[in-house]
């Protein structure tokens, strides 16, 4: 999901990319608990009747479910924000393991797009003074291309393959 603000202004442009999460962390927990409760209740009932081999299977299933939900939950608040303010380009990134804030000089910053052999856009980055900073991990190939187009018109470009 992409929020764009100030795109009409020639000096201010900001784009925020975040995953589209229709499930809140509380909702995630709630969904997991309901499924876990039912699965474990069934498993325990059969275990009491002597069919204990159901336990490892129920456990395995809940483990996979847990990892999937944890993944969603941890990344619910990820975002990447690119701000062009006058002559400053600011790239901010937030995810569960790190927070970063990088400032580039707008006059020198240029867009780098890298492609897979098949033509998928693999990577979008900004380069300035030999420093490169990636942007758009939360965007798919088309979105990266669209953004690349916008940035190219505002900054320069270094088309690479």
């Amino acid at each position: 999901m992409v929020d764009v603000s100030g795109s009409t202004s020639s000096v201010h442009y900001s784009i925020t990319a975040r995953p589209n999460c229709s499930l809140s962390p509380a909702g995630t927990l709630c969904a997991f608990c309901i499924i876990a409760f039912v699965t474990l209740a069934v498993a325990l009932a059969f275990t009491l009747l002597g069919a204990w081999p159901i336990l490892p299977f129920a456990g395995l299933e809940l483990l996979i479910l847990w990892f999937c939900f944890r993944h969603i939950w941890r990344h619910a608040h990820d975002y990447e924000r690119l701000t062009i303010d006058d002559h400053k380009v600011i790239v901010e990134k937030h995810d569960p393991t790190c927070d970063s804030h990088v400032e580039l000089n707008g006059y020198w910053a240029a867009v780098v797009l890298e492609f897979m052999p098949d033509g998928d856009c693999r990577r979008l980055a900004l380069r300035s003074h030999g420093k490169e900073i990636e942007f758009g991990r939360l965007l798919n190939s088309e979105e990266k291309l669209d953004l690349g187009r916008v940035l190219q018109s505002r900054l320069g470009s270094y088309p690479t393959t």
């Binding site: 999901m1 992409v2 589209n20 999460c21 229709s22 499930l23 909702g27 995630t28 969904a31 499924i35 039912v38 699965t39 069934v42 498993a43 059969f46 009747l49 002597g50 069919a51 081999p53 159901i54 299977f57 129920a58 395995l60 299933e61 996979i64 479910l65 999937c68 939900f69 993944h71 969603i72 797009l113 492609f115 897979m116 098949d118 033509g119 998928d120 856009c121 798919n140 190939s141 088309e142 979105e143 291309l145 669209d146 690349g148 187009r149 190219q152 470009s157 088309p159």
Partner: protein
């Protein structure tokens, strides 16, 4: 200028050829794989059914010895359920759910790829088991011990195949649940989701609850066979009836796993061709949830003859009868949706109408079977065979066909051949009834199921059924032809080929772009 070239380079960007299908994590590619896989399995298991009907054409043993015949019935059941019907619905889920909720893809594309590719592995195990000494498993798809413990190597392969397919189902369900819960476009609250998405959410929940039960049941069979355990072996103090309880605790929800997505497809098609919104959306959702909950309380209606106390029989009978209420609500809602609509009869609608009628017949025979004393007479007879084919063929399989005709223009960008579609519909519906309706009669008259040879008073009906089944089987080849023809060309289908269709997938181009919705679409 640079941008334009970049953009052109992007077209047809994904890998092509075999690698595309092996490595694809795209929900549409995987949906296509699921659908083709299930269609191949449908033809194979259907072929087994043709062999069964050939042997039953006349009394006496003509073509196959009983051992081979039992392999056919067992594998026909297992492959149709786990290879044809279930994967077909997962195929629909893959294609439709992201498009219907406005998402670019499934939540876990990599897992999605795995959950599909487990299936061909499991299917090859099942198919290879025909080549083992003694042939494939012949103990019935229900795998009751102690009979299932007597078999050879192929029985172990069947058990492993079920493990693998179970794992595939679990991964697939988790993916579907997370996609539906987490990737809906802003504004699409739960009670605004298309009914098809709702039915799949509930189905995935049923799958997660039922699959560990099945996996443990077959694991215990395996350890009883090879590792000296006595879970089910009466000779060592085990309890063969216990297996039936565990199996049907999985088995009854499984029935709804195979029918709820079909309800979802019907609830998409009927409003479209009635040009009217679905009647009673909320009660449709509640009815689906009620069916799902009740499905965990009725399993022993498959076991009324094992010798349970009257109190248990009464409990399971009452619970089973209750399911008729939410199921009835659905049928009434569909009728009310058609009422005062502006109805047209394209192939998907014809199938949908037939499904509602025929499924209702299957529902009524289910009610008859819920009545314990009547069930005592009908258990393990052809009446039961008639009942579950009315539910699973005319309920599930014909809904799948309806769904294929309905969404094929969206998927391929071409209209299918309406004339061929209608011929396929009439052939299927008539042949289906010729095949399965008389089974009610021979079941009532006392013909047991799963027998390779039968007494003479059942001869005429059996011959009639066999003739019907051959036509039914052959007309599915016409279906194959119609689908291929549509993929390869045909009139261009617009973005919204059906006038009355209004869910999100119809706002995309036909065929839709590689990633369905690049940005979350606006939702009223």
């Amino acid at each position: 200028m640079a941008t334009t070239t970049l953009h052109d380079a992007h077209h047809d960007a994904h890998p092509t050829g075999v690698m595309r299908w092996l490595t694809s994590t795209n929900h549409k590619d995987i949906g296509t794989l699921y659908l083709w896989f299930s269609f191949i399995m449908f033809l194979f298991a259907g072929g087994l059914a043709m062999l069964i009907r050939a042997e039953l054409f006349q009394p006496g043993l003509q073509f196959f010895q009983p051992n081979l015949f039992n392999q056919f019935t067992t594998m026909h059941g297992l492959i149709m359920i786990f290879g044809a019907i279930m994967p077909a619905f997962v195929g629909f889920a893959n294609w439709q759910i992201p498009m219907m909720i406005g998402a670019p893809d499934m939540a876990f594309p990599r897992l999605n790829n795995w959950s599909f590719w487990l299936l061909p592995a499991a299917a090859s195990l099942l198919l290879m088991s025909f080549l083992m000494p003694g042939g494939a498993a012949a103990g019935g798809w229900t795998m009751y011990p102690p009979l299932f413990i007597q078999g050879g190597m192929s029985y172990d392969m069947t058990i492993f195949a079920i493990h693998i397919m179970g794992l595939s189902s679990i991964i697939g369900s988790i993916n579907i649940i997370t996609t539906i819960l987490n990737m809906r476009t802003p504004g699409m609250t739960m009670m605004k989701m298309p009914i098809f998405v709702w039915t799949w959410l509930i189905t995935a929940f049923l799958l997660l609850s039922a699959m560990p039960v099945l996996a443990s049941a077959v694991t215990m069979l395996l350890t009883d066979r090879h590792f000296g355990t006595y879970f089910f072996n009466a000779a060592g103090g085990g309890d063969p009836v216990m297996f039936q309880h565990i199996f049907w605790f999985f088995g009854h929800p499984e029935v709804y796993i195979m029918i709820l997505p079909a309800f979802g497809i019907l609830s998409s098609i009927i409003p479209t061709f009635s040009r009217k919104p679905l009647f009673g959306y909320d009660s449709m959702v509640y009815a689906t949830a009620a069916i799902a909950l009740l499905s965990f309380l009725v399993w022993a209606h498959h076991m009324f003859t094992v010798g349970m106390p009257a109190a248990s029989q009464l409990f399971f009978m009452y619970a089973t009868m209750l399911i008729a209420i939410p199921t009835g609500v659905k049928v009434f809602n569909w009728t009310a949706t058609m009422w005062r609509g502006s109805i047209t009869f394209e192939t998907p609608m014809l199938f949908a109408i037939a499904v509602v009628c025929l499924f209702t017949i299957g529902g009524f025979s289910g009610l008859v079977l819920a009545i314990v004393p009547v069930d005592i007479q009908l258990q393990d007879t052809y009446y039961v065979v008639a009942h579950f084919h009315y539910v699973l063929f005319s309920g599930a399989a014909m809904s799948i066909m309806a769904g294929v005709y309905y969404w094929l223009p969206k998927w391929t960008g071409h209209m299918y051949d309406e004339r061929l579609g209608k011929i396929h519909f009439w052939l299927t519906t008539i042949a289906f009834n010729v095949t399965f309706f008389p089974m009610h009669f021979i079941g009532l008259a006392g013909m047991p199921r799963r027998i390779p040879d039968y007494a003479l008073q059942f001869a005429e009906f059996n011959m009639l059924q066999s003739i019907g089944s051959f036509v039914l089987g052959a007309s599915q080849l016409l279906f194959l032809y119609t689908v291929i023809k549509c993929i390869r060309g045909g009139a261009t289908a617009g973005d919204r080929p059906w006038e009355g269709a209004d869910s999100l997938e119809w706002t995309l181009t036909s065929p839709p772009p590689y990633h369905s919705f690049q940005t979350a679409p606006a939702f009223k």
